[in-house]
């Protein structure tokens, strides 16, 4: 029996945990229990960047990570961070499961990693304590925690907000005490981190689509037989599907939960979103320089 250590950042009952479990079940069923999985949830083996390095070294066999970290290893992954690029979950899934997504997965080979499938965290939305957000003007000067991600920073600067990169361990306390006004994350994270306890307004802005990725350690992968590889591949695809199912669920039930817990929720209409999209136009020039206008246009053109 071979042990497969699988690491991820959130709890076992999160979308990460559900995907990891599905991955395990599928592989176990297809290989007659040749592999035993051991889960390391809740960043037990360190942050996402550290786990990916572990995959490269062969100390961890598999992981599911957000793409924020992955653009350190394969810069093209960052294209998915561009705001208002994806129109809907369906659009995003089509792009990532189609040729564009597969091309990016293939590039991980050069980074010493085997990227097997695209998972998903859902669209990112804004929460804050200052005011409901309906127009870009509502964001003016708002101290908003963002990830340390140049693409996001450029967008929020263009929108007139005051993006504040902050380490996640400090965020809840900073929201609680009012050091910052708000933050942005997928609903799955907003619900599981109970941000309603420290935030009043939720704006379903869907400003950025947040994918995830299922990866396997290359040294481990190279030691697998073709049948085993197929089983791991299939398991990853099933795991990703489970993750997307979870996200579909959260997109509806999560909003209800947060409303019940007392958050004031508003959804941006198509026209309102268009106004935001227009406000980040200046940042797009920057994105064209980094990722190429061609790639960005191809994504927009995908049905």
């Amino acid at each position: 029996q071979t042990e497969v250590k699988i690491a991820y950042a959130l709890a076992p009952d999160s979308h990460y945990g559900v995907a990891a479990q599905k991955w395990q079940d599928t592989v176990e069923a297809e290989t007659d229990g040749k592999f035993t999985f051991r889960h390391f949830p809740s960043s037990a083996l360190g942050g996402e960047r550290e786990v990916i390095e572990g995959l490269q070294l062969g100390t961890v066999e598999a992981t599911i990570v957000s793409t924020g970290t992955l653009s350190n290893f394969v810069p093209d992954t960052g294209v998915t961070d561009i705001p208002f690029l994806f129109r809907s979950l369906e659009h995003a899934r089509h792009v990532l499961d189609g040729p564009i997504g597969q091309e990016i997965l293939a590039k991980f080979d050069d980074a010493g990693l085997v990227a097997v499938a695209w998972g998903e965290q859902g669209f990112r939305h804004i929460t804050n304590n200052r005011n409901p957000i309906e127009t870009p003007e509502d964001l003016a000067g708002m101290k908003l925690r963002t990830m340390e991600n140049p693409v996001h920073l450029a967008a929020f600067n263009a929108l007139g907000a005051a993006p504040t990169p902050m380490a996640w361990p400090e965020v809840i306390g900073a929201l609680q005490q009012g050091t910052i006004d708000g933050q942005e994350n997928p609903l799955s994270v907003i619900v599981s981190a109970k941000l309603n306890e420290v935030q009043k307004y939720l704006t379903l802005s869907g400003h950025v689509y947040s994918p995830a990725m299922l990866l396997i350690s290359k040294p481990f992968w190279e030691g697998l037989s073709d049948e085993d590889k197929a089983a791991f591949m299939d398991g990853a695809v099933q795991g990703a599907a489970a993750m997307r199912g979870f996200v579909d669920d959260v997109e509806t039930s999560g909003v209800e939960t947060l409303k019940e817990r007392g958050m004031e929720v508003n959804t941006l209409s198509a026209e309102q979103k268009a106004a935001f999209r227009a406000s980040v136009e200046s940042a797009y020039e920057e994105y064209y320089d980094i990722y190429g206008k061609d790639l960005i246009d191809r994504i927009s053109a995908t049905e």
């Binding site: 390095e53 490269q56 070294l57 924020g68 970290t69 653009s71 350190n72 290893f73 810069p75 050069d110 980074a111 000067g141 101290k143 990830m147 340390e148 991600n149 140049p150 920073l153 600067n157 005051a162 993006p163 504040t164 990169p165 902050m166 380490a167």
Partner: protein
């Protein structure tokens, strides 16, 4: 030789001072900017963190010299002078092998991270991870410079002041 050593120690110290000072200035400036201009420096967090990592490894050798790494001395205290000296030779040998090995593995790790970039400054991780081989090389040099008095009398720093200058301030 003595003058060269003093220069080396002073230089090492100056670098460490510069690192801690810039960390404080960068983080301080970031807070000030948030309140005065409503903008944060996207690279502040990252720069301060990597400076801290560099400070740790570049400062480790000087800390060793000043006796700043806590050790347990119960065994020493019950031994005769002669046995103490033999024990200290053993310690020095273990440390030298360990430091050299860290340089070796640190270089490997550095090489692996060549193509990885930091998120905010887009700096190759090579420059971050270089802190470890550099720091452990410095540890080797500092250990060799104090090895005589250390083995003879168990002393760390010589002539520059109080032997227990920073001893022990480390563990909590």
């Amino acid at each position: 030789m003595r003058r060269l050593e003093r220069l080396f120690v002073a230089l090492n110290g100056a670098v460490v001072i510069a690192m801690l000072s810039s960390m404080a200035l960068i983080v301080g400036a970031n807070v000030a900017l948030r309140y005065t201009t409503n903008h944060s420096l996207p690279w502040a967090d990252e720069a301060a963190r990597y400076l801290m990592i560099w400070m740790t490894f570049v400062g480790a050798g000087l800390a060793l010299r000043w006796g700043g790494h806590v050790a347990i001395t119960n065994l020493h205290d019950v031994l005769s002078t002669r046995s103490q000296q033999i024990l200290r030779v053993v310690i020095v040998l273990i440390l030298l092998i360990f430091f050299a090995f860290m340089v070796h593995v640190g270089l490997q790790y550095m090489d692996r991270a060549r193509f990885q970039k930091t998120p905010a400054m887009r700096l190759s991780f090579l420059y971050v991870y270089a802190a470890m081989p550099v720091g452990f090389s410095l540890l080797i040099v500092h250990l060799l410079l104090i090895v005589g008095p250390f083995i003879r009398a168990g002393q760390y720093k010589q002539e520059e002041g109080d032997v227990n200058a920073i001893s022990g301030a480390a563990n909590g």
